[in-house]
Amino acid sequence: MIAERTAAGSGALIGYLPVGFPDLQTSIDAAVALGENGVDVIELGLPYSDPVMDGTVIQKATQQALANGFRLRHGFEAVAAITARIDIPVLVMTYWNPVIQFGVDRFADELVDAGGAGLITPDLVPDEAAEWLAASDRTELDRVFLAAPSSTDVRLRQAVERSRGFVYAVSTMGITGARSDVDSAARSLVGRLRTAGATSTCVGLGISTPEQVAEVLDYADGAIVGSLLVNALAEGGVPAVARAAAHLATGK
């Protein structure tokens, strides 16, 4: 999908929402609304008790989902429900402990059964990922590792070689949350990733306006938006998410 968008010269818009916020059904409807309003790939977050990569907006939402009784099986249910309604790749973003506890192979198999495209793993670096590399090779799921401005060239090459689907370029040294400027570090990181052999690089962290999306898509293959969409969902429900997605996608 991302390769298609890049070939078409437009670049991909990737939208993040957590499962179970504000409740399971609404989170499914909201993800479908993303797909119907110009988002090309859905990044579906699994709520976790200790999300060290997330800023306050996403922390609040995932904490509420957990308080409302989120269970891992809801994640697979949500992926299945979304992919049954719209034809769009759904990547699951999850911290690593829930996957280990579920069983890495079992997790991969159930994700395939649900129609999921792969995993984004914010606290799993390729160095620790032997089990996941094997399971994703077996099931042909995508695996998205992160690359940071502080990563050495050797580590960037490793992220490129180990990732499938795309490499997640962290735009800034920090955590999720809207920022007024997307760091110039992002542009340089994407350049370094291309030198390291990356064919598909998406930029995330801090992106929240159509202008920022356009700016990022000028040099990267995709732009990832999260906190803005979560905020929209919190404040105005599914219609607000739909409007926010359309605004990001078209600038209108």
Partner: protein, 418 residues
């Protein structure tokens, strides 16, 4: 003594299947930088001399050992010897690690120290080192803990630190660690995260252990000098496990010395209110390392409970997980009440008021002494003093001033009427 050769040589990042680095990619460069700086400092005589000098003139090392025969009468008549980490500057073993890491941070050119704290002991120690070295200091502390430990908040502020109450998650120690990690990701250029226990991503578990292993090295020589023999057992409390690793390490290759770690069982390790991570948990990943942790079926971390804020943590250092699995150390649960009774017993029999954390080790030692009998010698790590726990102990034993209690009652009644 094992297929590993010496058990004292474990250098990470793994201890058996435990340890590692489960962190965002953004932190890997900082961990590599820290690892390199620590590895070179370890063999640098200038660094070692700096550290030794600070321990002599600031920490107050070597700490003494104290034999406690009147307490020992209640522990099966066993010969009980306390390693007095409670006498260190700032009141606990925590300063050993803090001084070491602060020196490393200075070598790295970092100007800002951040730390997590539960009860406030590690926060106070970090604020102390920051004041000593002229560094900026930010301490993350769960909002619940800032309320429970207001005096330690004042101490940190007096030392020039900024204390940030953490309002996310369970608003306790584990969430303070999460926020410290988030801060570090964003400010890693000028900031060192001074982690306070033998947990977290590599190199923290080995580095923190190494800064505390002086406890066991001193104590081993001191006990040998006093008794002419090694102790039969060494005991310590285990939350994250830094004081226990510190005293265990020197004895790991002494096959005749049994090692006991006492976990906080809160209201009982078979209830839902405990912090007995090795006793009741199972392996998983939390705060950057694979180890035992308290978690539900889905791998969500479960909140721990203990009367002792310093042991109130749902994880444990990876080296302890490994020592438990290979059977080199035993980890047993001690309830709140057992710890509090031991706290009172040491106070009454020896005139030493221990921290509630350390009282868990004392309570375990009472049971162990009864098992081993009067011929046994047991070395206990008295990791901290009880000054910080006076409010908790006062309430627990109902020994606060009668008039103040009466005044509180009136205030409560007034509050209820409004």
């Amino acid at each position: 003594m094992s297929e590993h050769g010496s058990l004292r040589d474990e250098a990470g990042p793994y201890f058996g299947e435990y340890g590692g680095r489960f962190v965002p990619e953004s932190l890997i460069a900082a961990l590599d930088e820290l690892d390199a700086a620590y590895t070179s400092a370890k063999v640098d005589p200038v660094f070692q001399e700096e550290l030794a000098e600070l321990h002599r003139t600031y920490t107050g090392r070597p700490s003494i050992i104290t034999e406690v025969p009147r307490f020992g009468e209640h522990a099966g008549g066993a010969r009980i010897i306390l390693k007095r980490e409670d006498l260190n500057h700032t009141g606990s073993h925590k300063i050993n690690n803090v001084i070491g890491q602060a020196l490393i941070a200075r070598r790295l050119g970092k100007t800002r120290l951040i730390a997590e704290t539960g009860a406030g002991q590690h926060g106070v120690a970090t604020a102390t080192a920051a004041a000593l070295f002229g560094m900026e200091c930010v301490v993350y502390m769960g909002e619940v803990d800032t309320e429970r430990q207001a005096l330690n908040v004042a101490r940190m502020r007096l030392l020039g630190a900024t204390v940030i109450p953490v309002k996310t998650g369970s608003r306790t120690l584990k969430d303070a660690i999460n926020d410290a990690l988030r801060d570090w990701v964003a400010n890693v250029e000028n900031t060192h995260y001074l982690l306070g226990t033998v947990a977290g991503p590599h190199p923290f578990p080995v580095m923190v252990r190494d800064f505390h292993k002086i406890i066991g090295e001193e104590a081993r020589a001191q006990v040998l000098e006093l008794t002419g023999a090694l102790p039969d057992a060494v005991t310590a409390c285990v939350g994250g496990g830094s004081n226990a690793m510190g005293i265990f390490h020197a004895f790991l290759d002494d096959a005749s010395v049994a090692l006991y770690g006492y976990e906080a069982a809160g209201e009982g390790h078979l209830t839902e209110k405990h912090a007995a991570t090795i006793t009741r948990g199972r392996p998983g990943v939390l705060h950057g390392a694979r180890s035992y942790l308290l978690q539900d079926e889905d791998g969500q971390t479960i909140e721990s409970h203990s009367i002792s804020a310093g042991l109130d943590y749902p994880g444990v250092g990876p080296e302890h997980a490994w020592l438990a699995d290979i059977g080199r150390a035993k980890y047993l649960p001690i309830t709140d009440d057992e710890a509090m009774q031991a706290l009172r017993l040491l106070s009454l029999t020896e005139g030493i008021i221990p921290a509630i954390e350390s009282a868990h080790a004392l309570a375990g030692t009472i049971k162990l002494g009864k098992e081993l009998g009067p011929d046994a010698t047991i070395l206990v790590n008295l990791s901290g003093r009880g000054d910080k726990d006076m409010e908790t102990a006062g309430k627990y034993f109902d020994i606060l001033d009668a008039e103040a209690l009466a005044a509180e009652d009136v205030a409560e009644i007034d509050g209820a009427e409004r």
